[in-house]
Amino acid sequence: MADYLNSYLFIGAILFTLGAFGVLVRRNIIVVLLSVELMLQGVNLSLGAFSTFYHDMGGYMLVLLSLAIAAAEAVVGLAILVALSRHVDEFYVDRLKSLRW
């Protein structure tokens, strides 16, 4: 098991980095939200790997918690998106800046 830990962590790090990259460079809000989910899953994967490695169910509990929260967060985020879609035509983050100073 110990041999595989690094590969799990590696994949988790790749997922997280891909997500972070997506959040930073993609302009479409839906894709940005998807990328946030990707980052989350990267972290969850690492947590699961550690949990198995240390024979401690705490890690999986944390994963379940974060999944629940992520689901709630996705609901709120999508609801905002739906509301937003009634006012604007383009879902591009760099266009949506009317709330700055």
Partner: protein, 634 residues
Amino acid sequence: MSEAPWLIPLSPLIAFAINGSLGPRYLKRATGIVGSLGILASFLLTIGLWLDLPKEDSQREYILYRWLESGSLRIDIGFTLDELTVVMLLVVTGVSFLIHVYSNAYMDHDNSFARFFTWLPLFVFSMIMLVMANNFLSLFVFWEMVGVCSYFLIGFWHNRDSANNAAMKAFITNRVGDFGFAAGIFLIFWNFGTVNYSEVHGAIGTITNGAATTIALLLFIGAMGKSAQFPLHIWLPDAMEGPTPVSALIHAATMVTAGIFMVGRNIPIFEAGGVSLIVIGGIGAFTALFAATIAVTQTDIKRVLAYSTVSQLGLMFLALGSGAYVAALFHLATHAFFKALLFLGSGSVIHSMQNEQNMHEYGGLKSKLPWTYATYVIGGLALSAIFPLAGFWSKDEILAGAFFRGASSNGDVLFLLFWIMGLTASLLTAFYTFRMIHLTFHGMPRNRALYDHAHESPWLMILPLVLLAVLSIAAGIGLGFPPEHGIIHDYLHHVIHSKHFELTGDSTIIVSLAIISTAIALIGVMAASSIYQRGRPRPEAMGKLFPALYTLSYKKYYVDELVEILVIKSSKAAGFVLWAIDAKLVDGMVNLLGWLIKAFSSIGRRVQTGQVQNYVLIMATGLVVSLGIIMVMQ
């Protein structure tokens, strides 16, 4: 009635509540009946109180309930049940009732009939509470209440600018007096720890002469405002913008006498206040003469009566200052009758002349308005103090009081001067009264169109005139004969008596003083007759004789203009300076601060691009840098 004196103010209050809530929509003309009945009930209850007045001093204060309590200050809503209250209540409710009856006819064509009969009972309620109060705070509250009612009624025709301005002028001028009055009450509480009349009067010996003088003078400033004494008299003539019954009730017969009443109620304070009585006498005498000289040249019939009221109030203050307290209250009562009569009579004339108030447009109305004419002449004779009408007895006593105060061994010689001023005022009073009567009723009509339409007023207006005329004839001899020992003197003796002044002399002096004042009044009457009666009266006859004096008097000694310059313009200038400091300096500093912050932040806010991804990048960079630092440190 002494068990439930609160019924007396209650009935006008109920009339006010009914008329105010249901009047405009449902009752309409019936509000006049409701109002009149409310006052009539009050008048009858007052007679009940008169017959059933408690004899024991301990029962003469009726406490309804405790109004407020704060620290050592305890204020009750209570009533003073004594002879002074009864006399004032009889005058207030009696005259008010007659004027309510009269108003039913006078206001008949007015669209705001119900509003009129809402404020009028409220005024009567406030006035009743004012005279029945047993402490200074209640007095002050209802003192203000009558002021508010006066404001509403002066500005009754609120679509006229002049009426609104007059109402504000009355209100603001009274504030000047009230400032002094309130300060006086504060000082009373400061010195005595109570504002109850009897407690204050009982403890009057415990304070220094200086404190008593200050209190007395401050209270008198309040009385000057309410009773229109120089230089706070300027509001009363303008108050004639209100409907004539209001002028009769509030600005001649009742409210303006509140100052006299207040001084009469608090004689112990004023007697303890050393010089204050001389000040009161001096201002009274001066105002009496000053206002009388103005009344001589006015052309508006109601303004003549207004200045006459100011002048008569001055005489009452002269009496108070001389120590002839009963004479002042006696004159207050008789004046209420004949001045209400004259005002209502002038209202009858104005009513028949289609609201024309300029006497130049009158003339020859004697045959057109016989009842008004007859009662008006009676009122005029009473005002001129012709024997044996009401005004003679009371005014003669005032002048005799001033004379004796000046002539007696421990008196003040100044009062001889005041006496002469009072005599001159009586001469002018007789003169302007008969000038008014000649211009209005005698001679040839000067405005044919108005004259032809003139008609006698309805009986509802004539009846109060006749009743008041009877009172104007009989009240003097009935109440005040023999002089100094009439019914009113004996009646008021328990409440109002001087501790300091003995204002009597032997009968020869009294009779000769009476003859002097009658002779002077007759001279005034004859002078007016000789100038205005012969043939076709020419109102401008006086003006031709002494043009400079005439203009000075006609322009009311330019007091209004002086006030305009000294008070209003200078207040406005001071206000402008203060406004400039506030708007430019204070606001400028605050605005400068805001502007500076805005300028600095215009640099800082460039960081906030509004691009979410920028923020994320910064966060991520920050995270990496922080983690890097932590790793390097380890």
